[in-house]
């Protein structure tokens, strides 16, 4: 059993072979396709933004020449590529080790020139290796006129003039190596002995132009530079690529893959010149693109993604793939949001009081003592309230009654008649009437009340089922695959045979989800000190949202979001918050949130659902906690921890019996029973 292959083992596109990139690639059907959105044949450059694991690399590699070849049915490679209309030339900026082009006692302008030269050599080699492979059977590729024109692209020819494209490519490699050695030695010697032998743009644009001029098979082809990991370039280096994008020449274009935080500048090397979206380039925001599609489309996309993996790993056959329903392999433990009641430990509390009833009793006693329980004076009053609320064997309804009582209490209502009304509502609800306070509360707060019940009965929160995992990933396919990878591992560990004989158990899902959430929290963070600040801030935010969610009278339902008045938040707090967004720990909600009192539109953010299990938060987003600027500062960049603790206390105490934010002394001044609303 233990040797079952984990179909989700490979979660990074960088770990996939060309074959796997092809086999695992899925797209949305029809006109909704991602490829259509990327428009590989369009000469308009594009920046593809995306969080880590959003699928940028997979998409860009899918467009690259080796993958294009795999997709061709046409026996002639040049014709096949020409039919596709573009030639994808993929490279990772990480391979440049860009930090070499910096410092070492050299002025910045020198490095700008050296980097541009180096990139000419780099692009030139990539173009040539692709064309040499593509046109290996073409007689024209050996023509004297072609190589003669190609040689003219160099400012300085070597003594042994290249006689073939391969020799020209070898010469570029030699020049690059020469530059490498000089750049490296510069660290030790302080001298940078590089002679620039190619004018900027001559190889990047000139080489493709020369090639299509001679090679008729590809004369109408677009050379598409697929520049991945743009975030690995420094600002100066990005300016250089931005300049290429701006000064693009036919037959070339660019698709630039970059993390959400990775575009350091829109400027070019020409002073004051800046590229503008929809003018010099288009932008595709990949995770938002995936996340904002209809639920059904997201689900089907995820399902297809998983089917491909299962197919490749031999768990399903091609013919069975259409009928295969991945959702059925995940045991929901009869705990869907509709049926949760049946999984709760009714028996445990049938004779005794459930913990939340004991808790309510304690708070009522405290309230009576301090005059903070409207309408209650004696132990007998408390008994009467508890008796009205209790409904043994109906935990969910009973817990909802408790919720309603806390709500009445917070509104200052007399608790004796309130409890009686709640009792009537409970009975009506059980007998089928949904138009009751119970029905209304459960419409909005069902998931929260279930979460509270689970917590109060010492059970873990449940993030179960394929649909839940899809929602958790929120536009990051790697998130989904990582969740499934861990679940599969735990399933094996528990002796199950996932996707073969056994449905994946609840505990395997819960353990897998917890592990994936921890991975996301650890991995999705900025490097350096700011990364630590983001982690700490997210921990505080998660704590606040959790405490509010599990308070006696939570102000919002399905709380995983907050709105923020950033105009009065500190600059540091805004910086940390933006960094959390850049690293996908927070998702910015387009349109923001209207402030109810002041009509202002505040920014709105959701904690990434991959992190929800870490703080027992919901996957769904409904209510949003409105935070003032000062509260944002206390969470994201407090000068001292006490600042956050005070905010947390203030927020949670307003939702906690018996005082609901009032001081006990203030309540003792009220005459019990007169606060009947």
């Amino acid at each position: 059993m233990a040797d079952l292959k984990n179909p989700f083992d490979l979660v990074k596109a960088t770990d996939l072979s060309d074959g796997q990139i092809a086999e695992y690639f899925v797209d949305f059907p029809g006109g909704a396709s991602l490829i259509d959105r990327i428009k590989p044949t369009s000469p308009m450059p594009m920046f593809i933004f995306g969080g880590k694991g959003s699928g940028k690399t997979h998409l860009m590699r899918y467009l690259s020449y080796p993958l294009q070849l795999r997709r061709q049915a046409e026996p002639s490679a040049p014709i096949a590529i020409a039919n596709q209309g573009y030639l994808g030339i993929y490279f990772r900026c990480g391979g440049l080790n860009a930090q070499r082009f910096f410092g070492k006692g050299q002025p910045q302008e020198v490095w700008e020139d050296i980097f541009a030269y180096y990139m000419e050599l780099w692009f030139g080699q990539l173009v040539l290796s692709t064309i040499i492979d593509l046109c290996q059977n073409s007689p024209t590729v050996q023509s004297v006129r072609l190589i003669s024109d190609v040689n003219r692209l160099l400012d300085v020819l070597p003594p042994q003039v290249p006689a073939t494209l391969q020799e020209f490519a070898d010469h570029l490699e030699f020049l690059q190596r020469e530059a490498d050695v000089a750049i490296n030695n510069c660290a030790l010697t302080g001298r940078l002995d590089v002679q620039i032998k190619v004018t900027r743009g001559r190889l990047v644009f000139g080489l493709p132009k020369t090639l299509v001029g001679h090679l008729t098979e590809i004369r109408s082809i677009l050379f598409l530079y697929l520049v991945d990991e743009f975030e690995n370039l420094t600002e100066i280096q990005q300016k250089y690529i931005n300049t290429l994008v701006r000064e693009r020449q036919d037959p070339c274009s660019f698709k630039v893959g970059v993390r959400l935080y990775g575009l350091r500048t829109k400027q070019t090397v020409n002073a004051g010149e800046e590229n503008r979206e929809d003018s010099e380039y288009e932008a595709l925001r990949l995770d938002a693109e995936l996340r904002e599609r209809p639920d059904a489309a997201q689900f089907n996309f995820a399902r297809d993604l998983v089917h491909r993996r299962l197919l490749q790993a031999g768990y399903i056959t091609k013919s069975a793939a259409e009928e295969f329903d991945v959702s059925r392999w995940f045991d929901l433990g009869e705990s869907s949001s509709v049926n949760v009641d049946s999984t709760l430990p009714h028996d445990r509390y049938r004779d005794g009081e459930a913990p939340y009833i004991a808790n309510l009793r304690r708070k009522l006693e405290q309230g009576v003592k301090t005059g903070s329980a409207p309408g209650l004076k004696t132990t007998s009053d408390i008994q009467q309230v508890i008796a009205a609320i209790r409904l043994p064997g109906q935990l969910l309804v009973e817990r909802t009654s408790t919720f309603l009582l806390y709500r009445a209490w917070a509104r200052g209502k007399n608790l004796l008649p309130a409890a009686e009304a709640i009792s009537d509502s409970a009975k009506n609800y059980i007998s089928g009437s949904k138009e009751t306070p119970h029905g209304e509360v459960l419409r909005y707060f069902r998931a929260d009340i279930v979460a509270q019940l689970l917590r109060e009965t010492k059970q873990k929160q449940r993030y179960l089922g394929f649909g839940t995992f899809v929602k958790m990933s929120a536009g990051l396919p790697r998130g989904l695959l990582t969740v499934l990878k861990h679940i599969f591992m735990w399933s094996l560990f528990y002796g199950e045979q996932p996707f073969q004989q056994d449905r994946i158990s609840v505990r395997a899902q819960m353990d897998g989800v917890a592990q994936a959430a921890e991975w996301f929290f650890t991995e999705a963070r900025a490097p350096g000190p700011i990364g630590a600040l983001v982690r700490d801030a997210m921990t505080r935010l998660g704590q606040l949202l959790r405490e509010v969610r599990f308070s006696d009278k939570p102000s919002e339902c399905s709380l995983s979001s907050f709105s923020a008045n950033l105009t009065t938040a500190s600059q540091k707090a805004i910086e940390v918050l933006k960094e959390a967004e850049n690293w996908s720990m927070l998702i910015r909600i387009a349109g923001g949130q209207h402030d109810r009192n002041e009509g202002r539109v505040d920014e709105k953010y959701q904690v990434h659902p991959m992190l929800a299990p870490r703080w027992d938060l919901p996957i769904a987003r409904r209510g949003a906690l409105a935070l003032s600027g000062e509260e944002v500062t206390a969470i994201f960049a407090p000068l001292e921890m006490a600042e956050f603790e005070a905010t947390l206390r203030r927020r949670v105490s307003a939702m906690t019996a018996p005082y609901f934010g009032q001081s006990p002394s203030a309540n003792t001044l009220l005459l019990p029973g007169l606060a009947n609303g």
Binding site: G95, N97, R100, D180, T482, P527
Partner: protein, 327 residues
């Protein structure tokens, strides 16, 4: 016979007076007990403390015995170059000993490289083993706030445009966050983890494994493939160099155009082994040493001195024998 194994090393007795006497002794100050203990035991004409800026010592915390050097510098090469310049012009004729115990990894690399460039034909390197690390496997050696992962000056290779078969060799130590940072930086590369075995103390290998298991996500599928594990004694730079040599040669035999990245994150003795291998075989090839540069390193990480090694480093004999790959 493997030429790395011909280099001389010996275990130094902690109970007896050490036999050697050198013209110049260099150590890097930190508060781990073993560092000042070795400083005391070594006999030399001049004894120098390097005050590495990442330890964040204040001037009044500098050691009182020996000459302390804390020159401001923008990077490790500048720091070490300034220091070596102060030692005078005839360094090649001096008998030099270096205790690398308190060094931070990249300073070990740079010092060895600069000594070679300055024509120092041979020197002795000492490494002191701890009784235990302060918090066992949870010991942190840095603040783990990695400012950048980059190549170490003097160990930057040449590069090939084809990055599809790149290899990253991780010398695995306790600082799992640092390992993860390097693995993430070279996400696309095939990864091999080099463990210290035998470890410095019997329990340290298990501790190391526990820490390494935390980076399985960053290392990716290679983290669970036994063929992607290599072992070299944690105290032995020469065997480390030998294992690296074999590993990189194997990779280059299959992928001659691959870029190879080496990242020494384990013991200082193994770090020295990475430097030896690089200087012997990798100069001007598509091989680079990459390192996660942190804001700050811990001043004290271990207790006691359980043993010490002396390695005789014949820099002049590290003749350049390329492992291939565009050499």
């Amino acid at each position: 016979m493997d030429r790395y194994l011909l280099f001389y090393k010996k275990r130094l007795s902690l109970d007896k007076r050490w036999a050697g006497r050198w013209d110049i002794f260099i150590s890097a100050y930190n508060s781990s007990e073993r560092v000042p203990l070795i400083f005391q035991k070594v006999r030399a004409g001049e004894k120098h403390w390097l005050i590495l800026p990442e330890y964040r010592y204040l001037p009044d915390e500098y050691p009182k015995v020996g000459e302390a050097h804390a020159d401001p510098a923008s990077n490790e090469i500048e720091f070490m170059s300034k220091f070596l310049a102060k030692l005078g012009p005839n360094l090649a004729s001096k008998r030099i000993a270096i205790d690398i115990t308190g060094f931070i990894g990249h300073y070990v690399l740079v010092l060895v490289r600069l000594l070679q460039i300055l024509g120092v034909a041979e020197c002795d390197v000492i490494y002191g083993e701890p009784v235990r690390y302060l918090h066992s496997e949870r010991t942190r050696f840095s603040d783990e706030a990695v400012l950048s992962v980059r190549q170490v000056g003097g160990f930057e290779g040449i590069h090939t445009t084809d990055t599809s078969d790149d290899l990253l060799v991780l010398g695995v130590g306790y600082d799992f966050r640092l390992i993860a940072e390097v693995a993430n930086e070279k996400e696309h590369a095939r990864k091999v983890q080099l463990f210290g075995l035998p470890s410095l103390r019997p329990d340290m290998y298990q501790e190391n494994l526990l820490r390494a298991s935390k980076v399985s996500e960053a290392v990716g599928p290679d983290a669970s493939v036994p063929q992607h594990f290599r072992y070299a004694p944690a105290h032995d730079p020469f065997v480390t160099a030998s294992v690296l040599s074999k590993l990189v040669r194997e990779h280059r035999a299959s992928y001659p155009r691959a870029n190879v990245y080496l990242s020494p994150l384990s013991t200082k003795a193994q770090t020295l082994g990475f430097a030896i291998f690089y200087l012997a075989e990798c100069l001007e090839t598509a091989t680079s040493l990459v390192y996660p540069f942190c804001d700050c390193y811990m001043q004290e990480t271990s207790e006691g001195l359980s043993g010490a090694w002396l390695y005789h480093l014949e820099l002049a004999n590290l003749a350049h024998h390329s492992v291939g790959g565009l050499s």
